[in-house]
């Protein structure tokens, strides 16, 4: 079963990093394959930043796609409207403190949350993308939750082990929120 995800945001939000962590985690699962391709503007913070992730138990066909099963918008301020990336059955995860609506994007499945607010709540203001990863994994169960955390420790903790605890808090907070939102439906 091939699952496609587009993470879309702006430079500096950790879009590419979040996509890579998912893929590294997927590769730890026997029989799973992953591809990751990042498209970004020319070395400018705030420019467009899209990350294409595919995870499958078979050989992955296209590593880049215009629309995906899951779209994760890291902000409402993306240069291209995330609505363009949606199919009828796409789940749109929207990270914003604002009260936006599914109808604004033509999304049939819509998960709205305030990642920055949540990161601030766990005293990790730079952990927004860890919260986002947690919500995504908690809501979709796309990969084993502990495996993703283990990968966060490996990839981020190698150089900065002092942030492991903060990153874990942010990730677990997102995870709970994701599960709770699914249960509430």
């Amino acid at each position: 079963m091939e699952k496609t995800i587009i993470m879309t945001g702006i430079g500096g939000q950790g879009v590419k990093l979040a996509g890579e962590i998912l893929c590294y985690a997927a590769c730890k699962v026997d029989g799973l394959q992953a591809t990751n391709y990042a498209l970004y503007g020319r070395a400018k913070r705030g420019g467009m930043s899209d990350c294409f992730v595919a995870i499958s138990d078979k050989t992955i066909t296209a590593p880049v796609f215009a629309k995906a099963d899951i779209v994760v918008a890291f902000t409402t301020e993306t240069p291209e409207n995330p609505a363009n990336k949606l199919r009828e059955d796409t789940i749109l995860f929207m990270n914003t403190p604002n009260d936006v609506k599914a109808e604004d994007y033509g999304a049939n499945k819509f998960v709205l949350f305030d990642g920055q607010g949540m990161a601030d709540e766990v005293q990790n203001p730079k952990g927004e993308n860890m919260v986002i990863l947690g919500i995504l994994v908690g809501y979709t169960n796309i990969l084993p939750e502990e495996l993703v955390l283990e990968t966060i420790f490996e990839k981020l903790g190698a150089r900065h082990p002092e942030f492991n605890e903060l990153n874990e808090k942010a990730y677990r907070y997102g995870l709970e929120k994701g599960k709770a939102m699914l249960a509430a439906e």
């Binding site: 590769c27 990751n36 391709y37 215009a66």
Partner: protein, 358 residues
């Protein structure tokens, strides 16, 4: 063998060193800069040489020099970088030197831009240098195939005493994918390969043998026509032995999508979409683009197949010319292509295929 998640440029770099490459030269150009970056860190630890030349021209001539000494050598670049190397590519062919050249295609013509394309089909297969020389040209469709192609390229380069060209692209260079990385050949094997080259053809200490000079053209010691006949015999040998392609769901196909390299991944996804809708569509994918797999298109059952859609990331389309020659008018050939960093999309290919099937 180990399963790893790697970026394309780094996978090619790692595979080259594991396949025994001990001399790399290059000059920076996007989107392949991670190849020299990766090799610069690791090659010195292997006792090999990493050289950042002062230009593309200097770098490929360094490769010429390393190959003359029998060292497994590789160079990578992108599109306009390869244009600058054009003269020496002809010299390498003429002097029969086994090197591996990889192109991570970006936009063109000219400076183009850094977006991924397949805009160098003619350059790779027909016009990489003056004088009509040929090289084996591989076109991997995945990072696993790219890794395997690197190993195979060094083998084939030795077998035919020729440069071998690996045609990649900006997506393959920048994307990450899970791959099985083969074990490295041992230092002893690397030394034995060099020793064998020294014994058979390379230059170095003479040790009782005749003096050797490795130069091409009229300086080779052969009349030029005789040299070109010798080279042609090699091209014909490659055309006999090195045809490589994949048929995907072709058994009952009434329509065919044909694509190569990275483009074939989007084409395969399009075939899957159309199959789910009940269309009998298959795919032909050349894996080596020289020699071109004419036989794959001869094997099509033209009493059943009503149309062929050729798709690639190049405007104007180039690959389609070889497809048209191969199809010989036995079915209509349609084109759908993109350019300038616009990546093919499976849904769009499927839309164009549905148009063809109307």
């Amino acid at each position: 063998m180990e399963k790893v998640f790697m970026k394309g440029c780094e996978a090619v770099a790692e595979a080259a060193m594991r396949a025994g490459c001990r001399y790399y030269a290059g000059y920076p150009i996007t989107p392949q800069n991670q190849v020299p970056e990766y090799i610069s860190r690791k090659m010195p630890k292997l006792g090999g040489v990493f050289m950042q030349g002062e230009s593309e021209v200097a770098s490929i001539n360094m490769i010429y020099g390393a190959a003359v000494g029998g060292t497994r050598s590789m160079i990578t670049s992108s599109s306009c970088g390869l244009s600058l190397m054009s003269e020496t590519i002809g010299w390498l062919i003429s002097a029969e030197l086994p090197v591996v050249i990889a192109n991570f295609q970006r936009g063109g013509p000219g400076i183009g831009d850094i977006g991924p394309t397949q805009q160098d089909y003619f350059q790779a297969t027909k016009a990489h240098s003056n004088g009509g020389g040929r090289m084996l040209v591989m076109s991997p469709g995945s990072l696993q195939e790219a890794i395997d192609a690197v190993f195979e390229a060094f083998e084939k380069a030795n077998k035919y005493r020729t440069p071998v060209y690996i045609q990649l692209d900006g997506i393959s260079g920048g994307m990450m994918e899970s791959v099985m990385m083969p074990d490295a050949i041992s230092d002893e094997e690397v030394a034995a390969l060099k020793q064998k080259a020294k014994e058979e053809w390379a230059v170095g200490k003479m040790e009782g043998r005749e003096r050797r000079e490795i130069v091409g053209g009229a300086d080779s010691g052969l009349p030029l026509q005789t040299l070109n006949q010798k080279l042609e015999a090699k091209y014909l040998e490659m055309e006999k032995n090195e045809v490589k392609y994949e048929n995907y769901l072709m058994e009952d196909a009434e329509y065919v999508i044909t694509a190569y390299g990275i483009g074939s991944r989007f084409a395969r996804a399009a075939v899957n979409i159309l199959r789910e809708e009940g269309y009998k569509v298959g795919m032909i994918r050349p894996i080596n683009i020289y020699p071109f797999p004419f036989e794959a298109y001869d094997a099509i059952d033209y009493s059943k197949v009503k149309g062929i859609l050729s798709t690639e990331m190049s405007i104007p389309a180039q690959f389609i010319h070889d497809v048209q020659i191969a199809v010989k008018g036995r079915a209509p050939v349609y084109n759908y292509s993109t350019s300038g960093g616009v990546i093919l999309d499976a849904v769009e290919i499927a839309n164009h295929a549905r148009e063809m099937m109307k």
